[in-house]
Amino acid sequence: MTTESEHAAMTEDGDPSVAGTAGYEVISNAKLSADVHRLVIRAPRVAAVRQPGQFVIVRLGPGAERIPLTIADSDAEQGSIVVVIQAVGKSTSDLVRLAAGDRIDDVVGPLGRPSDLITSGTAVCVAGGVGAAVIYPIARRLAEIGTEVITVLGARTSESVLYAEEFASFAELVVCTDDGSAGRAGLVTDALREVLATRSVDVVYAAGPVPMMSAVAAVTKPLGIRTIVSLNPIMVDGTGMCGGCRVTVDGVMRFACVDGPEFEAHDVDFAELADRLGTYRESELTASTHVCRGSA
């Protein structure tokens, strides 16, 4: 009943981690900007099936946190996934310090629902900061399936613009920086407004800091343009077991890790999301200044 090859696909060729002991190898680590790194990690099971919009949860080692990271890209042949990490606290800083050959104890995924992609018409993809890594797989797949894609990429300075070349290879690209050091000066919402004023747009996808996503939703709502945002609440298990990732969408409690992470922007309670992200602000200061355990 069972063929040898099917079985091989199930276990032998799976991740080298039996019982999570051997870990997941870091194939490379490249610095993209002052605090953002691109890690390629060997995780064949995830690479084989992941789709745009999905993420992994990563736990570096004993005592480490489980943190969610979007799968920016993958190579099923090589059995690898790409994550783009902004070092904002203890766990992300520990991860960006890894070198090729180092191992991460746990990588689980792909988690979350795949993106809801339109197959024709025009989509604007808006990304702020490290949100570029979240939007990139969505925009690229949209372009592949025949949707016209316009990308609006926002960053603080020219140095922190991520993935500009990649986006430019398949989409119209508008870059905005706070200080005007690259592209135009100003917010992504200004650029978005201009695009929407001149083009007929079917869907807007947005990922980035909560205030940015909220501002994008505020721009598109009066225009009646469907808008999808990728939410980033604090998560623990990523399987719907803890409810820590709950967000309010259209007045209903949803668990972002299993019902999302993408939701219809016009229904999202952004204020609640922004607020809940601050739950551990004090604790996080303790964690990032605490030194006695040393780096993992």
Binding site: T2, M10, S17, G109
Partner: protein, 480 residues
């Protein structure tokens, strides 16, 4: 207390003079500062003395009260005789995880409820004796490696909770090649992420996991069925699949304020502390809010675990808010008792209306209303009825919601052909098979939130039917 010398057979009268032996416990004052286990376990002497209380009834009603029908009179007698190795053998024959069940079974509703001594006085402390033998065995019994004839059949188990672990062990003993897929980074299910260290040390669970691995069971963590692989893929890759994913979806109350900072589901609160070791923050990276005034809503084991955890995290006041009265609390009696010793306060017959917060959206209190008990409802428990005008606010900075869990649709929604009850649980026939041939299910995902021993009983029973099924259906044996 009468101490009776061994050697000569005791009379029934002599046996009846012995008091039930108390479980030695960690001093309540010391407990609030530590997650170390509260119950310290019987000494050999205490165990033998307690065993002498057993009257060796002809019709052993205690066995009938045990969901897995452990041969209680035999192992208790073997303890009385000081033959702990024999007692261990008896116990393990019917129960693969006695170190776990000896700690977490609701004995007062099972074996001990049926003990004849309980009619007039205290029943034999069967749970404590079970735990004693299991712990003794951990230090003394070194299982010789089994020589099992491999059958070449491959079986996948989804979920490494007590149901899945038990099934995997049984199936491996039958010679099958078993792989457990577990979503989290550590096996054990609720035993690892839910039940706290002070009740069930994780070392004990991992010791049992190690025994399975020694039997050749493969455990693959970080695999979410429904995401990493689908159930259909497992059906193609294995001769049979056992689904034991538990009922891990937390239920919230649907009252205002559940989005405030300081509100947790019990699953999140306990997972942060147990699985992620937040009690050791910042040595461990995962934080948990260390509230000064913690209110836990609910009355089951989960609620009691959460409230005792809050005390250990430093809460000055930790309270249970339960809508019924004390006798209706479904938690184990021993845990309620320990919680009281540890200074937990109880508010009975109180129903939560809303969680209140300040301008910064931190929790400041629980608005609730007092209730009186009405007629028994469909579950046989008396339904609470709100008393008008009794609304009040219990001040607190942390609220933990422990009002139950439901079936998690993650796996089932990715397998639309799988038959479900209207509440999302799996439907299984008397053999434990779902509507999909070769897909079996047991534990909480079939029963709804139940108990460790029932999940284990399912695992054991259904492993038997899976064994029959694969022997009957597999045509070719693939050599390893």
């Amino acid at each position: 207390m009468t101490d009776v010398a061994r050697g000569e057979e005791l009379t029934k009268r002599e046996r009846l003079t012995i008091d039930r032996q108390e479980m030695p416990t960690r001093d309540p004052g010391e407990r609030s500062g530590t997650f170390a286990e509260v119950n310290l376990g019987f000494t050999e002497r205490l165990a033998m003395l307690e065993a002498q209380r057993c009257l060796a009834c002809k019709r052993a009603t205690c066995v009938e009260g045990c969901p897995v029908m452990v041969d209680i009179p035999t192992f208790v007698r073997q303890i009385e005789d000081g033959d702990f190795a024999a007692a261990a053998e008896t116990l393990f024959r019917d129960n693969t995880l006695p170190a776990v069940t000896g700690r977490v079974c609701p004995q007062e509703h099972q074996c001990e409820a049926e003990c004849v001594l309980g009619r007039k006085g205290a029943p034999v402390a069967i749970g404590h004796l079970e735990r004693f033998i299991a712990d003794w065995a951990r230090g003394h019994v070194h299982e010789p490696p089994l020589t099992i004839e491999p059958t070449g059949r491959r079986i996948a188990v989804i979920g490494a909770g007590p149901g899945g672990l038990t099934a995997a062990g049984e199936l491996a003993r039958h010679g099958h090649d078993v792989t457990i897929y577990e979503a989290l980074h550590t096996p054990g299910g609720v035993l690892t992420y839910g039940i706290p260290e002070f009740r069930l040390p994780n070392d004990i669970v991992q010791h049992e996991v190690g025994r399975l691995q020694a039997l050749g069971v493969h455990i693959e963590c970080n695999v979410v069925i429904g995401r990493t692989y689908t159930l259909d893929e497992l059906r193609k890759g294995f001769d049979a699949v056992f689904v034991s994913v538990g009922a891990g979806l937390p239920v919230f109350l649907g009252i205002p304020g559940e989005g405030l900072k300081g509100v947790y589901s019990a699953n999140e609160y306990l997972t942060r502390v147990n699985l992620m070791q937040a009690y050791a923050f910042p040595e461990a990276d995962t934080p948990v809010l260390q509230g000064e005034h913690v209110v836990v809503i609910g009355g089951g084991n989960v609620a009691v675990d959460a409230v005792r955890t809050a005390r250990r995290l430093g809460a000055q006041r930790a309270s249970i808010v339960y809508r019924r009265s004390r006798p209706e609390m479904p938690a184990r009696v021993e845990e309620i008792h320990h919680a009281e010793q540890e200074g937990v306060t109880f508010e009975f017959q109180v129903s939560p209306l809303a969680i209140e917060g300040n301008a910064d959206r931190w929790v400041t209190g629980l608005r609730c209303i007092d209730t009186k008990l009405g007629e028994p409802d469909s579950s046989g428990r008396r339904a609470p009825i709100p008393i008008e005008g009794s609304e009040r606010v219990i001040p607190c900075d942390t609220v933990v919601v422990a009002v139950g869990t439901r079936a998690n649709p993650l796996l089932t929604s990715s397998s639309p052909d799988l038959a479900l009850t209207n509440r999302g649980y799996l439907v299984a026939d008397e053999r434990g098979m779902t509507n999909l041939p070769g897909v079996f299910a047991g534990g909480d995902i079939v029963r709804g939130s139940a108990t460790v021993i029932l999940a284990m009983a399912d695992g054991k029973r259904i492993a038997g039917t899976i064994d029959e099924y694969v022997r009957a259906t597999s045509v070719e044996v693939t050599p390893r």
